[in-house]
């Protein structure tokens, strides 16, 4: 049983407070939702948890040991994987090589990395994409490849930054299933950032709501659904009109 936590994390960018005193924790097999309007600081928090952004103050802990100040590649080697809002596949490489490179980065030999990459594509159900060049994939497949890449070498935690953006209802549904399988079958702790609040409410065990860099609410899906504070935060932004927030919250 592992636990990843942010403890009073603050980040300031040239005066702008992107995060103030944010704390949360994820444990093995748990799916934690992280929602909030645009610019709330969700990606910044993932960056802090994965070593891409040093916090101005506060700490990141893995099973009680500090990860603060560790380099991004070290954090990944310690079992905390992530995906990116923009996909960021190795565009010129075939899908299989995208996964293979991660295996190599984590210390496997070429043959072992290819073997694990093939098993992973099979597990996700996209083995048929193995030889496609990553840059030519449609959105949905790109996301699934990114998830497969992040799952190489069995990370303890997986941080997903808006994996459902641009997906149809059916595709988002399939994604929910995949996320559940990752938590249940691989005993991986998942932190899920999503603007598709319906998906978050449906799949997460627990949800944290960020607004303007601060946690404004936490609780199980039912409580978040009923929260006045959350409703206000979303209604207050201009961006909410194109998000399925209202339907999801009502």
């Amino acid at each position: 049983m592992s636990e990843l936590s942010a403890d009073g994390v603050s980040v300031a960018f040239a005066g702008l407070k992107a995060l103030s005193e944010v704390s949360l924790k994820v444990s093995s097999g748990q799916i934690l939702g992280l929602i909030g309007p645009n610019g709330a600081g969700k990606t910044t928090l993932v960056n802090v948890l994965t070593g891409f952004q040093a916090p101005t103050s506060g700490a990141v802990l893995l099973d009680g040991a500090s990860l603060t100040g560790a380099e991004a590649h070290e954090v990944r080697r310690r079992g905390i994987a992530r995906t990116f809002q923009g996909g960021r596949l190795f565009r010129d490489l075939p899908v299989i090589d995208n996964l293979e490179v991660t295996g190599l980065g984590l210390g496997l030999s070429r043959a072992a990395a290819i073997r694990e990459a093939e098993e992973m594509l099979d597990w996700i159900g996209i083995a048929s994409l193995a030889d496609r060049i990553a840059g030519t994939l449609p959105y949905t497949d790109e996301r699934r490849v990114a998830i497969g890449r992040a799952l190489m070498r069995q990370p303890k935690f997986l941080l997903l930054d808006e994996p459902a953006a641009g997906m149809s209802a059916q595709e988002a549904n399939d994604l929910s299933d995949l996320i559940r399988r990752i938590a249940r079958e691989r005993d991986c702790g998942v932190l899920l950032i999503e603007h598709n609040v319906g998906l978050v409410l449906g799949v997460c065990d627990h949800i944290v709501v960020l607004d303007s860099g601060a946690v404004i609410e936490t609780g199980p899906p039912a409580a978040i659904r009923a929260s006045e504070t959350v409703r206000h935060a979303y209604m207050g932004t201009a961006a909410d009109t194109d998000l399925p927030v209202q339907e999801a919250l009502v």
Binding site: E71, H73, R88, L106, R110, A113, A150
Partner: protein, 342 residues
């Protein structure tokens, strides 16, 4: 079912070094068959350049970081040749400050070239440990600073390097075969590196550094491996250059060499080993033709000669044209391959 053994990777990519080496062999055989002294020297020059540009490619091609400093490694290698192959009698006058064991050392060309590679690799490791933490233009400028430093040291440390004066007395090798062997070895090393896990990782980091870090890739370390290996090959290239002309000065391995090797790589295609080799073959041929024209050609009864400096201008024009119309060079990211595979 996909085949995944290392043997498959080998089989899939091995045609590239085979083709490139066959090309080099063809040049060497041609010069041996023609048997003319100047032509022989031209082919030797080409093979030395192939070694140097291949060394440059190992780092620049795989990391995407432009280095303006690799001539420094050729310099380190070239002076190892001077230290270890010149007769002790002559060394005493030119480089009186050498330690006794080095003063008395007189070894064969291949052992000297291997030492040159090691010496250059050592310094690539020391400089690289610092430089590889930088990225983009800062890294490039820092490599240039490294070149300037090493040039300044070799220009001023008179007791050991003879300062800026020419060190003569290196036993010149006039046969093409040693140069062919070293150039071929450089091509094999570059190919083996690029299909190795280290090469694959570094190219991924070149194209998408953020994702590479999130994949556990230690980018400075991955770059350092390429830097040391390419430093070693450059060191061997500098050694062969010294053996081909018999003289070294710090400026043999300075801005001129930096410019020619970089232009050859850029023209051929920075991201491709085939590009590195073809860049040398194409630009060297061009330089040779321009040299002949500068020297004057007999057409009928009149002699036609281009004014001096045309060679450099011609090289510059070709480089600019290629960069305009093929910004990624002649080969881009592609490699020469036998047509039979998939």
């Amino acid at each position: 079912m996909r085949q995944t053994s290392s043997l498959t990777i080998l089989r899939r990519t091995v045609s590239t070094p085979v083709i490139l080496i066959l090309l080099l062999v063809a040049f060497a055989i041609l010069s041996w068959a023609v048997g003319s002294r100047p032509f022989n020297q031209t082919v030797i020059d080409i093979l030395v350049q192939v070694t140097l540009v291949t060394g440059l490619y190992i780092f620049i091609g795989n990391s995407g970081v432009i280095s303006f400093g690799h001539a420094a490694f050729a310099c380190l290698g070239g002076y190892v040749i001077a230290w270890t192959t010149i007769k002790p009698m002559m060394k005493k006058n030119a480089m009186p400050g050498l330690p006794d064991w080095l003063m008395s050392m007189e070894i064969g060309w291949w052992a000297a070239a291997a030492l040159a590679a090691l010496w250059a690799a050592l310094w690539a490791g020391i400089f690289g440990a610092i430089l590889m933490r930088l990225s983009g233009i800062a890294a490039s400028i820092a490599t240039f600073a490294m070149l300037a430093m090493i040039n300044a040291i070799y220009s001023n440390w008179s007791g050991v390097t003879g300062g800026t004066s020419s060190i003569v007395g290196i036993p010149i090798i006039r046969s093409v075969w040693p140069y062919l062997a070293v150039a071929s070895l450089a091509v094999i090393i570059a190919w083996a590196y690029s299909i190795s896990r280290h090469g694959l990782i570094l190219r991924a980091a070149r194209d998408e550094p953020t994702a590479a870090r999130a994949s556990g890739v230690d980018i400075p370390r991955a770059r350092l491996i390429a830097f040391v290996l390419s430093g070693a090959v450059m060191g061997a290239g500098g050694a062969m250059l010294a053996l081909s002309i018999g003289v070294v000065t710090p400026n043999t391995f300075y801005l001129g060499l930096t410019f020619t090797t970089l232009s050859m790589l850029v023209v051929g295609g920075m991201g491709s080993l085939s590009g590195a080799v073809l860049g040398v073959l194409i630009l060297s041929s061009l330089i040779q033709v321009l040299r002949w024209l500068e020297a004057g050609v007999q057409i009928g009864t009149s002699t036609f000669a281009l004014p001096g400096g045309v060679q450099e201008i011609g090289l510059g024009v070709v480089m600019i044209l290629i960069l305009m119309f093929r910004p990624t060079g002649i080969m881009g990211n592609r490699e020469l391959k036998f047509p039979w595979r998939r």
